[in-house]
């Protein structure tokens, strides 16, 4: 680990060890030349490059790594592994809830379905946003949070004042 850190500490100028004249003298010249960073030119991969060049020209500053652990953690205190475990617990519970809603309907099943589906969907899309969009649009999580809250409000209203999701699915399927 420290070895690799040491190798990286050569600041890309083509030396294998620390910037110390004593060490650089011991390197044979052929080895020194091969370590110099070369500038390589763009090799065209036909017209599919056009898309890449479109984004590059507009300078979408993607924040690509390396991310220190503090940067990745953010503000929350829960360990990522704990959150992952909670996600799996919810997924396993949904394995039971989904077939059950075919046989048992009612207000309790409505609430159970709404909460599990919304929560599972929220964490799933959150992961997708973190994977692909966060590096381009860092604030993308907030609109998704709002949409989920609005969806929860809509579903609670629907379950309380309207027919409820189980009945609604039955009505749609009878069409």
């Amino acid at each position: 680990m420290a070895t690799i850190g040491l190798l990286r500490a050569c600041r890309g100028k083509g030396c294998l060890f620390v910037k110390n004249s004593m060490f650089q003298q011991t390197l044979p010249t052929s080895l020194q030349n091969s370590l110099v960073t070369k500038h390589f030119s763009l090799t065209s991969v036909a017209s599919s490059n056009a898309v890449v060049e479109f984004f590059r020209a507009r300078n979408f500053r993607a924040k690509r790594g390396p991310f220190r652990p503090e940067e990745k953690r953010g503000d929350h205190k829960m360990m990522a592994s704990t959150h992952w475990k909670i996600e799996r617990v919810l997924a396993v519970s949904m394995l039971g809830v989904m077939p059950a809603c075919l046989f048992v309907q009612g207000p309790i099943m409505d609430t159970l379905l709404s909460i599990t589906v919304l929560l599972h969907g929220f964490w799933g899309v959150d992961g997708v946003l973190t994977d692909y969009l966060e590096k381009f649009v860092p604030w993308i999580h907030y609109p998704w949070y709002l949409l989920t809250i609005a969806g929860l409000a809509g579903l609670i209203y629907f379950n309380y004042n309207d027919v409820g999701v189980c009945e609604a699915i039955k009505m749609v399927w009878k069409l």
Binding site: R8, V52, P66, F158
Partner: protein, 183 residues
Amino acid sequence: MAAMIRASFGKGSALLTSNAALLSRLQPVVVTQLSHTSTRSQTEDIAYKEMEEFWDKNRRLNRPLSPHLRIYNPELTSMLSLCHRATGIAMAVTVPFVAATLLGLPGDFSSYIEYIKDLHLNPAILTAAKYVLAFPICYHYINGIRHLAWDWAIGFDLKTTYQSGYFVMALALLVTAGFVHLL
């Protein structure tokens, strides 16, 4: 000590034995002390800083990235995983969107069902719509079981992955057809 380092370089195993000596010769780097960094060594801090500078240089020189999605052949594994993500996103976005819209729109749910009934659509269109509604949930559920099995490190080898992949896709299509035509 310098002579020892120079001599061990020739053997090719220098770095592992002379780390402590070389570390003491590193140029000092100012690192802002955050909490939770007490367990990180100075070398890691330097490594992170080096990586940042490397990426700044990449951006400055506008270096191209190697193609990946454009050149890799679609495989069953990647296509099924994409399908899992796509169906998941589709459902996760549609449910809150429809729920929030229904919250704002006038009239209760039955009136909208009546409206669709009054359109007198071709039954084929309704069946197709039911397929579109049923397939994501069936596929995502069955592939979800496959994913959970992987999370318990079951069925990870390539042969099992391919077999379970074909099975999942076939079963999802069957169950979707069952839901549409039998329920």
